[in-house]
């Protein structure tokens, strides 16, 4: 038995992958390095020169006002935002929160910019759908931190690989829901668009995307939430923010600070989730 199991010597898969990634990194460093540098600078700029420059009080009020209008002029979320954000500030995690926020915003934006067009392509062609579906399945079933490995390999440590890992992990819902939303548009409406002589683009922008909007927004909401969870995990590769506070508290067995920064993440998650959820409902309520 033992002999049978060891007829084939260990296949050097790990070595192969290492070599391959090494080769990729070397070969495409002309591509990766500038991304790392410029992208990193951009995010530093967003955090330090934009978000941190807004006085916390103003920022909190701004969030509360946006929450108030997004939720259809209800006070709940607005009040929660005020208390929650004030608490984060009170505990001294303001800058960490801004770092996390920057990562989430940038990662989500990129996910949407990349995801929606791919979703459209998938909805338009059976072949594209067949190709992308298993890739998306694969992307979503891998444990999130696995994406940290190639991200680190290509981009070192810090914010940039965090965003890249988050991009891989969080884009699939936007792609899936865009595809689904467009495919769900009633056949008669698509026929109506065609029957009146629409071009493909007219059909897409005047009928399909507006009709699919609530579904796409639901996908984007998921993407944003996944980005947030990934950004927290990305602290393991040095992405700054609330996640790295949790991580360092864990490493030093400091229950108290770990708890507080954990609560900060939850507060942020709730605010972002409710806001993006209402973004998808907003149009419906009006009309």
């Amino acid at each position: 038995m033992f002999n049978m199991m060891s007829i084939v010597p260990k296949i050097p898969v790990a070595e192969g992958v290492t070599d391959f990634v090494g080769w990729l990194t070397d070969t495409f460093s002309f591509l990766f390095d500038p991304i790392k540098v410029h992208f990193g600078n951009l995010m530093d700029f967003i955090t330090e020169s934009v978000l941190m420059n807004i006085p916390p009080l103003i920022f909190i009020l701004l969030v509360a006002v946006i929450a108030f209008f997004l939720t259809g002029k209800k006070l709940g979320l607005a009040a929660f935002s005020i208390v929650g954000l004030w608490f984060i500030h009170n505990q001294g995690y303001w800058e960490e929160m801004m770092n996390t926020l920057t990562l989430v915003i940038v990662a989500s934006l990129l996910s949407v910019i990349i995801g929606v067009p791919i979703g459209i392509l998938m909805s338009k062609s059976k072949i594209t759908e067949t190709i992308f579906t298993p890739i998306l399945d694969f992307m979503q079933t891998m444990p999130a931190f696995v994406y940290l490995i190639p991200a680190v390999a290509f981009f070192g440590i810090g914010m940039v690989p965090g965003v890249i890992a988050s991009l891989i992990f969080a884009t699939p819902p936007t792609i899936r829901f865009t595809n689904l939303g467009i495919r769900q548009v009633s056949g008669e409406l698509v026929e109506a668009a065609d029957a009146f002589g629409s071009t493909g683009a007219q059909k897409l922008f005047k009928v399909e995307l507006p009709m699919a909007r609530p579904t796409i927004m639901a996908g984007i909401n998921q993407t944003v939430m996944l980005s947030l969870s990934m950004v927290v995990i990305a602290s393991m590769i040095g992405a700054p923010g609330l996640g790295s506070e949790v991580l360092s508290a864990l490493q030093r067995s400091q229950v108290g600070p770990g708890f507080v920064s954990g609560v900060g993440i939850v507060i942020l998650a709730i605010v972002i989730d409710r806001m993006t959820q209402n973004l998808s409902k907003e149009k419906k309520a009006n009309g």
Partner: protein, 398 residues
């Protein structure tokens, strides 16, 4: 020239279209072809033409291929074979650009479930066709408004379709189709989703609009009553084949086969059949050349108790009874004019069966069918009852 002409138009759904086509040519049925090739025959070599200003109805049971046929005409479904000529140009040979132009300018479609865009207002829906053509906002909204006023929705411009009743939504659908000012309207079961009363109303409205606009309308329905009300001509479909084309009259009176007959069976015959469908050839004598003796002889021959009298132009003069004729013969009075009676009920050839029934019920004599005084035929009581019961064969033996 016909505005629409369809030649051998065929659609086969599925992969083995070549094999299926071959089987079709060899006369295999839709069912056999599905079994052998897995392909569904949607439409099988349809041939017909539609004249300008005509309402052409395509009727058939569900699954008979009506929707497929109408979608082949604007190529929402790509034909497997055949030609579609619109004003003489073959749609089947057009590229995408040319096809779009035809759809924009010549063909508009009205959908069964209305196909309105829920995120657009009534006005924006109606203006959609012109928006696609990049017509300026002001101009297209003006035209859309006119179309909406035409269908009685001038007061609902800013509503969303979801706020309107079914009947009103379909008016929007109709207005959207009319805004483009197309020459042809394609209406796929456009009124089938409406309740019966609203449906009648919409049919009347369509007839009324049509009398003003003189569009060419291709109207799809599975409802015979609707087809009879609207159609100038009706094409009957079964399993992808067109089995009969004709005026409502022709379809009802001379059903081409059992299938059509079955379809027609349920129609309320008292409304559909008219005098000319149940009349018989009358026995007549001519007032100028025949006397009581001939009259008596003819009645004896035919075994009847009275005979109709016409002049040489077949204008109805009256009738004589056998009794009066035999007395005249006995008394040597040779003149028909003395004994002719004129109290015979007369109906026009287009009188409906139900109206004939009330006339004949009170009458001692048969009823004469006339057209401008000219005798066409005669109706006996039995024929009316038979026709109403739906069993007597309805023949046109004049």
């Amino acid at each position: 020239m016909s505005i629409i002409e369809v030649k051998n138009l065929t659609k086969i759904f599925g992969k083995n279209t070549k094999q299926a086509l071959k089987l079709l040519d060899n006369g295999h049925s839709k069912e056999e072809i599905l079994k052998q090739t897995g392909s569904t025959v949607g439409v099988n070599r349809a041939n017909f033409s539609v004249e300008e200003g005509e309402i052409f109805v395509i009727m058939g049971l569900s699954g008979s291929g009506k929707s497929t046929l109408v979608r082949l005409i604007n190529r929402l479904i790509e034909p497997t074979g055949g030609n579609i000529y619109i004003n003489g140009e073959d749609l089947a040979k057009m590229n995408k650009q040319e096809l779009r132009e035809v759809r924009r300018k010549k063909l508009s479609m009205v959908f069964q479930k209305f196909g309105l865009f829920p995120h657009r207002t009534v006005l924006e829906n109606a203006a959609f066709g012109l928006e696609i053509q990049k017509v300026e906002k002001q101009e297209r909204e003006e035209k859309a408004k006119k179309a909406l006023e035409l269908v009685g929705l001038g007061g609902y411009l800013d509503q969303k379709p979801g706020q309107l009743s079914g009947g009103m939504q379909q008016r929007v659908g109709l207005a959207r189709a009319l805004t483009n000012d197309p020459s042809v309207l394609l209406m796929d079961e456009a009124f089938s989703a409406l309740d019966p009363l609203i449906r009648k109303e919409m049919q009347d409205e369509l007839i009324h609009l049509q009398s003003k606009m003189k569009k060419t309308i291709l109207f799809i329905t599975h409802d015979l009553d609707e087809a009879l009300r609207l159609g100038d001509r009706i094409a009957l479909m079964r399993d992808g084949n067109i089995v009969q084309i004709g005026t409502p009259e022709e379809i009802l009176v001379n059903p081409a086969n059992d299938y059509v007959e079955k379809f027609v069976e349920d129609v309320d015959k008292s409304k559909i059949f008219t005098a000319q469908h149940i009349m018989k050839r009358p026995e007549t004598i001519q007032i100028e050349k025949h006397g009581p003796r001939v009259a008596l002889e003819r009645m004896r021959e035919e075994g009847i108790s009275s005979i109709l009298v016409t002049d040489k132009n077949r204008q109805l003069q009256g009738y004589v009874t056998a009794e009066a004729a035999s007395q005249a013969v006995k008394s040597q009075n040779g003149d028909l004019k003395e004994i002719i009676k004129t109290d015979i009920p007369q109906v026009d050839k287009d009188t409906a069966l139900q109206d004939i029934f009330s006339v004949i019920y009170d009458s001692q004599t048969p009823v004469a069918v006339v057209e401008e005084g000219k005798l066409l035929g005669i109706i006996v009581r039995g024929a009316v009852i038979a026709a109403l019961a739906g069993e007597g064969e309805v023949e046109n033996n004049v």
